[in-house]
């Protein structure tokens, strides 16, 4: 009866469906990374330009919220992930990432790298590092916390923005930081700290955006963050708080996927990562400490930064074993 009418509609549906799919051709290196790496002000554009000069290829960065979300995305996509290189996991995640069986040995000589604790790994290549720190606006916060304990027990009306440990490496970093300082008492510490938390964002970019917009006077970031404000906006009001218990360290790494469509290109990229062509883009774009030599000494502002007296780091295997339990502990403490 009305089948003709319906088939017309069906045709229009099919037609519009087919236009959804679009694809591009050519030799492309696909790199999964976190969002702030690929932003206009991040190292992504410079790295892309530098590497494309050495190869006859296009670099395609795919920005995914943050480091932990990268790992979830990989687990989700499994062997069908369309990437060659994953850049932006950190030492808390390497064991878990290796256990997925999706990565293969990098074959890159990492002996020239300089990272705290002398990180060595068959699979993952370190490219930068930094210590987590609470950054505060010195115009609003006149007596910044001098220890994690002071942060946890401080004035609840003075807020901090933190990141979700389920998606972001700084968030996971804080979780591990609290764990390594408080141990079994971490749950209680979280319950106290949560009174000061304005909001929990999925990634570093969102939290830092809230901070620089003046929505919140403290944010979880890195000791290197003030260098950005000194160099980019000649602004010294944003400071890192030095904590007496020590600072948790993050070593950022990249790895090659087993099912990489362009495996050799990917390996070349990992090698390129430890050359000045890549490393030069790190200090003033990713605002982290480079893991290998740069072509020129770092800017003066980096000498003014907080240098942690003690570095905290929980072994990756232990994190892999306990991450879910610790996150559940945080979740339970975070809900009312």
């Amino acid at each position: 009866m009305r089948t003709k009418f319906l088939s017309l509609l069906a045709a229009c549906a099919v037609f519009s469906l087919s236009s959804v799919a679009a694809d591009a051709a050519g030799k492309t290196l696909t790199v999964y990374t976190y969002e702030s790496f690929v932003s206009e002000w991040g190292p992504g554009p410079k790295v892309k330009e530098a590497f494309e000069k050495t190869c006859d290829c296009t670099v395609n960065f795919v920005g995914i919220t943050d480091g932990v979300a990268l790992l979830s995305r990989l687990k989700l996509e499994g062997a069908s992930a369309k990437a060659d290189v994953v850049l932006g996991l950190d030492t808390s995640l390497t064991a878990e990432a290796r256990d997925t069986g999706l990565f293969e040995a990098s074959g890159v000589d990492t002996s020239a790298t300089t990272v705290p604790g002398g990180f060595k790994d068959e699979v993952f290549v370190p490219y930068d590092y930094g210590h987590f720190a609470v950054i505060y606006d010195s115009k609003v916060v006149t007596s910044p916390p001098k220890s994690l304990k002071e942060l946890v027990e401080g004035d609840p009306s003075q807020k901090i923005a933190i990141q979700d440990p389920r998606t972001s490496t700084p968030g996971l970093g804080l979780l591990l930081w609290v764990k390594s300082v408080y141990g079994d008492k971490a749950g209680e510490a979280w319950r106290a700290l949560n009174k000061r938390v304005l909001t929990v964002t999925p990634g570093w970019s969102e939290a830092y955006g809230l901070f620089t917009k003046g929505e919140v006077p403290m944010v979880l970031s890195y000791t290197t963050s003030p260098a950005y404000h000194i160099i980019a906006d000649k602004e010294t009001r944003y400071q890192a708080a030095a904590f007496s218990e020590g600072h948790y360290v993050q070593i950022e790494v990249a790895g090659l996927l087993k099912n990489a469509p362009e495996k050799e290109l990917g390996r070349d990229f990992l090698r390129f990562m430890l050359t000045p062509g890549f490393q030069d883009a790190i200090p003033e774009n990713n605002w982290m400490w480079p893991a290998a030599a740069t072509s020129a000494p770092l800017p003066e502002a980096f000498n003014t930064l907080v240098k942690p007296e003690k570095t905290l780091l929980i072994p990756s295997e232990e994190v892999a074993k306990n991450r879910k339990a610790w996150i559940d502990e945080w979740l339970a403490a975070s809900v009312k």
């Binding site: 979830s72 304005l198 917009k213 809900v335």
Partner: protein
Amino acid sequence: MRAIGGGALVLAVITGFAGTALAALLLFDGAGFSGLLDTYTLSVARFTLWQATLSTLLSVLFGIPVARALARRPQFPGRIWIVRLLAVPMGLPVLIGALGLIGIWGRQGAMNDLLRMLGLAEPVSIYGLSGILLAHVFFNMPLAARLMLAGLERIPGEYWRVAASLGMPSRSVFRFIEGPVLLGLLPGVAGLIFMLCVTSFTLVLVLGGGPAATTIEVAVYQALRFDFDPGRAVALALMQITMTGILLAAMAFVPVPVEQSATLARGGRRFDGWRRQTQWVDGTVLLLATTFTGLPLLAVVLAGLKADLPALLFSPAFRRAALTSLAIALSAGCLSVMLAATIIHARAAIGSERRAGMALRGIRAGLSGAGSLILLVSPLMLGTGWFLALRPFGDVARFAPTLVIVINSLMALPFVIRVLSPAFDVHQARTGRLAASLGIQGFARLRLIDGPVLAKPVLMALSFAMALSLGDLGAVALFGSDDLVTLPYLIYSRLGSYRTNEADGFALILGFVCLLLTVVGTLGSRNRMTDDR
């Protein structure tokens, strides 16, 4: 007979689609319902119900004076525009509304600037529970007000005349006339709003701010996308479906609120409310309601105009997202209209069958249920189920466009049926027998008889369905990848990286398109009603 066959097929397809999702949830390996009752899940469920209860209470509470004031003042200057303004949040994509609310109520928003000027130290927080409540009231208070206004306008004019001749004061009018009517409407209105708030996703995602303020919908999304913990996602999803199931069952016992005013209401002149005091009260109420609803919309427009709109319109990211969105919306809209037409047709065919057997009656009841299945199994739950079902077959993102289209079309189905059903029924009654006796069928019937009359309602339904699909973030967020970026997803990710200027510009464009489509989808219905009179 073919109509019934088509109906049975549609029924099979819809139940198959939802059934697969449900089966995938129920049969998921290692679901281990141990996770069902841990502190986190339980408190998420508690928060979901708590915020929905508060949101409903506030929406209805603020809706009553607005509806009363509007009903009492048919001559209020600009009244028709206030009523139209109250309809806007319905057609506005939730994400855009949230942006507007942040512009007004955010820490740096106009309202907090005002409060600070008045000497208030602690600003109103848009994050967490207060933000969620604010946003839910923004979206649902106008809905409550409109539904109750329609109810009040259905009160026959004689009542007012009697009340006036008895000299009843406003209090007694409320107690004896308005009150009982509103009380009768209350369960339906409150139930509807409660249901909307329980399944709220986008608002909570944007304004929630962490695990302390999370609804089940958002928790399912996080369990899948953040943790990749399907076990927990399944537990939460089943909890949600049980909850909506109980709610729907409870709501089956209360009358459904309708928006149309009865034709008689036109003559219902009001004689009360002439006192200076009530005039002031009504004026203030309407001013407040207009400001509360209008300001966030104004904020969206102003913020959007600040963005470099031409540059945004021509940016490749926008073009790609707009094309994707349009293609998805068009497909979902067409699919929804097709499903609805088949369902209506089959229902009518079974209805005209002299001796409808058990099987036929079963199909008919099933079709009525299938049309509003999406209320029981929310889009995100369907998505989650299919996500798990398709995972063994490789990259889920590959199936994303198809799934989003089907889910969006099911989302629009209840509305599409509501728009199409009266038009189709009237048309069938007018032309059915004659066309059959003349032996006109197939393409000739479509061209000569159905096309000219039904084109308009079909286009209306299509545009409304497209508006719904264009503004939807839920289904896309679950599957979203870099290959499938729709406009709401683009806005959400721009918002995430705090490139708010661009997000504002995109929001203005999308909001405008959606409102336009909604106006096309609903204006026609008003015309048709007046035509019929």
